[in-house]
Amino acid sequence: MPQPDVVLFTTCIVDSVFPSVGRAAARVLERLGHRVSVARASTCCGQPAWNSGFHAEAARVARATLRDLSSLNDRVVCLPSGSCTTMIRVYWAEMFRLAGDEAAARQAEELSERVLEFSELVARSPLLPGRCARRVAYHRSCHMTRELGIIDQPTRLLQGLEGCRLVDWADDLCCGFGGTFAVKQPEISVAMADAKVRSLLDSDAEMVVGCDQSCLMHLEGRMRRLGVTLPVRHLAVVLDEAYAGAGR
């Protein structure tokens, strides 16, 4: 079956700070037979402003991304982020309406049907062989789990890797990032990360894996500060390495 062409919207955080995640996501999708291009004129989904209550500003930024993604005909749009996918699929229409832009709201509704989170898209293909002999603590990011209901796909992909074992930990507890929450309430945000790290250390995990690089940046940043050196990886990176035969 021919795979659909995919436009990768890397999201602002991956694009600007974690290019390796974007490159890994693209490689995994290509390995599955998709033709991948990157949405270069897209900037950000607007979530930071939206969650801070600045919907007009969020809409202004999102409009640039909407314009870009809508111009790509009916190709599947893939994001390596559960929360940015949620922003587009769940909140964009409401945001554009609040900003008084009905045309954009309709466009967003049309677009949302072909926007997929990375693990969601990858899990639609047959599993590829790969190896990752690690005990993995999988972090369930909030919006992906609760708003999109993407629950089984990432764990199925991980369990499909030879030698990979998922450990039991506070997997669905919020890590405390929460966008601007992380800087508006840094003390609470860090305390929430600590609760997560305590649970991690109580498990015998060798690696933390997640589907939202923003959560992972926050968790990893906290772990480094605490001197906890377990690797923290986006699922795309884990799959890319495993499929390339580089997983250990």
Partner: protein, 455 residues
Amino acid sequence: MTGDSLRARARPAVTDAGLNATVGAATRHLTTERIKAFEELANGEELRVSARSVRERTLARLPELLGLLADRVEAAGGKVFFASDGAEACRYVIEVARRRGAHLIAKSKSMVSEEIGLTPALERAGLEVVETDLGEWIVQLAGQPPSHVVAPAMHLNRRDIAGIFARHGAEGIGDEPTVLTAHARRELRRVFLSADVGISGCNFAVAETGTVCLVTNEGNGRLVTSVPPVHLAIMGMERVVGTWAELDLLVSLLARSATGQALSAYTTMVTGPRRPGEVDGPEEFHLVVLDGGRSAALGGAYREALHCIRCGACLNICPVYRQIGGHAYGSVYGGPIGAVVSPLLCGDEFRDLRLASSLCGACYQVCPVMIPLQDLLLQERRDAAGKAGRAERWLWRLWARAWGSSRVYRLSARVARWGARLLPGRWVPRWGAGRDLPHDPARWGRREKGRPGGA
């Protein structure tokens, strides 16, 4: 930046390891019990949907139902007082107590009474007030407000409680829970038997019969409402339900959501005062129905917050509440629901509680009446945005202008990347105090700028 007062209250809370352990253990326990209680039900999700529609229907006919409730309470021999605000409610209660020449008031748990500061008002009027719910009594002795809508002393462990009792005349009794509760029972028995007035809350009031329903686990509610010669119940006006069938649904969801019980140990129904020929019950029964910001909220964007039945499940699951406990909210109502209702019911000074959430959405999932708490918190943030400080508004405006253009975005992304690489993490305000900055050695290749995976 806004939210600094919340920050100031949260700072000592997050570093208090004892508080963290106590609140963490209690909230995790209650959450586990709640999950078990819902697993027992074949149709837990359906019941939530039904409960939500019951609350919607009830609020849609609130004036009518309150009218019916008042008629039925009066028909049963009780008196009803509609208080437009807390001060009015307190004045009414004081008048009733004075008319009866009361000295001692026994109180069972009531969050509305906390909301309006009833106890301090009564004390200022020269009355002695004793809380008879164990948790409430403990925090009253400690001189603290309750820290949780269901478990007022959740933030205290048994050693803390033994210490509080010791400071109030019970030294050397140790910290065995059975001994501590026996002490409380002895002390409170005296209060039940000698109180001139009993004040209770009201979990629900059934309009069709004029019945006040109290959900407790200690039996103190039953004593407070039946032993003293006067019983005064106080309720928020949204607490009404139309029928006993609706009460049945809501009470069972309340108990399961709050403590994981199918029903609490005592579910007390009070309809009016003692009738001729009955051997016990109060001579007088008063129902105080408080507006206190509720009717204003009814017509606004936060209407659904009035669906709340105060089970505390959203507090228990909330990762923020678990870290900071109830007192850091600064309001009698903490947790996600507290962040939404406090500005509505307790004043504008609680508007910064909109920031006490990572918007993780766990609260909505456990709410028995499906209040979309994260949406309401977002709404609060939108409301506040217009009044935000000039710096924050300009920052977002600037950001929107920059990232609304992919060219400027690209430039700023490069700056961010180099910033993260070059800046020592600790220098970054608000982020760097607790977290390092990310470092990703990879970069988009020139060839990959159009097609990164295609190398």
